[in-house]
Symmetry: C2
Subunit: 460 residues, 2 copies
């Protein structure tokens, strides 16, 4: 089906920055096939009047742990180690695959209703997440989290490493008969065509599997080496946490005589498309390596401030030409999945820290929340509104006092807009959210199921 959106303001990326074009946006199935001020000469099957709304690219959340929505606000105000060990881990120990399935659906509702169309996912039970994602119509790169505490175990013998590889292979082969897939998917409430649903999401490119190392401090050199070797064959993107806290950064130097970035680089894992979350404490030398190896820095301003971790050197990274994307991190350290908040924070805090209002333009911020995230996740078909790109777009109702006057729309998006100004979210040409309604997720049922999980998790 071909659909024409008419009467819209369209945010387009030119070589100079963002511009707004008043006109028409045509969609052929899942792909943008027309962007112009002129009414098209070719006929579309359907016309949708957007009533002057702003159409912009869907936002890309390049780092998170979506099922942590279930833990929103848990342990707020605690120091990082206290927060992890005494608030988060004791609850996470009780989690089962069904919880990831429901927690991920909760997160997807929040993301769709605040304009996110693609997200990076790093959490336990990835097959359960995969099914929630496939069902909902949103786009995601997910992974099995690499974790290993025994320095003597060989990478090829480590169970999590084996499962990391297995996940990527299962996606390549569309084969979900491995025991972990069977166990996780068995725990999800699913219809009989669930394999077809997942396979379709993989076939269309909506769902991708990445490699993942939790971090230097929660893995071992053997495991990093094994994944590096396997990724010569698999060529998947790699998700990793890097230098989030000063302690973690310094501990790595003490253990290995190198920073985390140097350590990972020396083993070779950065030779693939790596996106590194946080990078608060990276050195100038680290940034040079990141630039050389095309490592994306995923900036998570809310989480880094809420946990007291600090401020990543974003202006320096941008000046060096490093690809900088944006992420929310998990909901327990944020406590939301609202990319408009991350844009706003990223735009403000570095001006404050550097005492320089010229830092981080609206263009740079919008790039971070869209095309830079797409690049991080190995997706060159999203992140901008352009003929030939996928129809991953959101619509904004501009008829609100806080969005008037609208001299400078990129500026307005970054500094004045709220996540809840999003009134329509479309992925691959399908409307998933419109005017407060979720078209692929039963909100009431999901909230009911979440409530039962919460009762269980928080019972003594």
């Amino acid at each position: 089906m071909r659909r024409l959106l008419k009467n819209c303001k369209i945010l387009i990326r030119t070589n100079e920055g963002y511009e707004v074009l008043n006109g028409y946006l045509g969609i052929d199935k899942d792909t943008i096939d027309y962007v112009s001020e002129q009414y098209p000469t070719e006929k579309y099957d359907e016309e949708k009047d957007m009533g002057g709304k702003l159409i912009m690219p869907g936002l890309i959340n390049a780092h998170g742990h979506s099922p942590m929505t279930l833990l929103r606000g848990v342990g707020s105000g605690l120091k990082l180690q206290d927060w992890l060990n005494n608030a988060i881990f004791p609850i996470e120990e009780k989690l089962v695959p069904q919880d990831t399935f429901i927690g991920c659906k909760l997160a997807i509702m929040e993301m769709l209703s605040t304009g996110t169309t693609t997200f990076a996912e790093m959490y336990d039970f990835p097959y359960a997440s995969a099914y929630a994602i496939a069902e909902s119509g949103i786009k995601s790169n997910l992974c099995r989290v690499g974790l290993c505490f025994d320095p003597n175990i060989e990478g090829k013998d480590d169970i999590r490493t084996i499962e990391c590889i297995e996940l990527i292979d299962s996606f390549y082969n569309r084969d979900f008969s491995n025991s972990e897939a069977v166990r996780e998917l068995g725990a999800c409430k699913k219809d009989e065509n669930y394999v077809e649903t997942i396979v379709n999401a993989i076939d269309t490119g909506r769902l991708k599997a990445d490699f993942c190392l939790h971090s230097e401090y929660l893995t071992t050199p053997n495991v990093v080496k094994a994944m590096t070797d396997e990724n010569k064959r698999l060529k998947a993107c790699v998700q990793v946490h890097v230098s989030e806290t000063e302690k973690e950064h310094n501990d790595c130097i003490e253990r290995h005589g190198k920073t985390p970035i140097q350590y990972f680089n020396d083993i070779g894992i950065l030779d693939n498309n790596t996106y590194a979350a946080h990078c608060v404490w990276v050195t100038d030398e680290d940034l040079k390596i990141m630039k050389e190896k095309n490592v994306t820095l995923v900036h998570n301003p809310s989480s880094n401030m809420k946990l007291g971790s600090g401020f990543a050197p974003i202006t320096k990274a941008l000046d060096m030409g490093i690809n900088v994307a944006l992420g929310t991190d998990g909901c327990a350290s944020n406590d939301n999945l609202n990319m408009f908040e991350e844009m706003h924070l990223a735009a403000l805090i570095h001006k404050g820290i550097e005492n320089d209002p010229t830092k981080l333009s609206a263009t740079q911020i919008l790039d971070m929340a869209t095309i830079n995230g797409a690049k991080a996740m190995g997706r060159d078909d999203i992140g901008v509104i352009e003929v030939g790109k996928k129809a991953d777009i959101i619509a904004i109702n501009m008829d609100k006092p806080h969005l008037y006057p609208a001299y400078d729309i990129p500026n307005l998006i970054v500094y004045s807009m709220q996540g809840s100004d999003v009134c329509m979210t479309m992925v691959d040409g399908n409307i998933l959210y419109e005017d407060g309604k979720f078209l692929t997720i039963n909100k009431e049922k999901t909230l009911e199921e979440a409530e039962a999980i919460i009762q269980r998790l928080f019972s003594k």
Copy 2:
């Protein structure tokens, strides 16, 4: 009329912090007369089912320049002096009283729709603002901005000083026959009962007049002295900008051998209820004076970051027991009037800067946005939900994915809630905004009138 809100979650302030009570909130005309989990024994004229919504105190914006909504986004990304001299001042020179009237109405719509019930106003043409405020039903302390550039002129001969005093006197005497009042009110589209409307707002305490000194650098010692003397009689609150930028702070030391706070204190203006915006560069000595003189520090995190001014020493001020309130500043350096954003920013940035997640609890942040602002503005009848306080409350629709789960509601308000989650705003018992509709302002007409102003201001 007595109205009972039932089926609500009510945010109350106890000695320990904030708690949520499930129950009933009774209102007698403009005053809260019942808060309980039990259904009242006395009968109310009307019952309103709130459907489980959260009722919390209306937010108090303790620093701003509301008509600058007309300049939202102008000069974004410029350095402060460049921004003021080349972007803002050339447009402000064209402003007439009618612009303040409409700009203020635009601002009031944004504030009501994002949960603000009281705001501090510092801008030109205060009588025009007074009428917009009186008509709309919102609450405000406004002022004539004290400005003087000639160090030789006596305070009693300075026209702005005379007008500052005249404004406060006109409020005391309910007399709007002075030439400035006649000129400004003459420019507003008003009905024939406009004097009655303003007088009623003053009589009920909704509208108050403050003294105002723009700043040390835009006034003279003579003027500060004259206002100090006059305020022994008038006993009004005093609004002032203090140590916003490093340059301004250091220039003052160079001119007077004192910091701005020391300078103001030595002349005596701080002996009244003073609320000082910004205070980014105040010294430890300044903070001691502020504590001793009960000066409120009004923190404006967005504006201070956007203009690259820096970070006010908020945790130090709180530790010393200084009253800290929150403000948005004007819309051209923010670019919104959304107090939920200011709460979120204030809660996050100081944790980041001090590398300490235990700083600034949700309780401290909520106090800053409510009772501390009330105290700053000399209003002891607002800022908390309590029997005997004015019914200045807002309702939040909690049925949204980003507000679930709600283990810890104060935390949720600060970190997860958006201004647009506000679905009802009430001032003095009157509903002014509900479900996207403004009940005292004609939104379409105001936007139309604003558009005409904008065409004029931005024409070459």
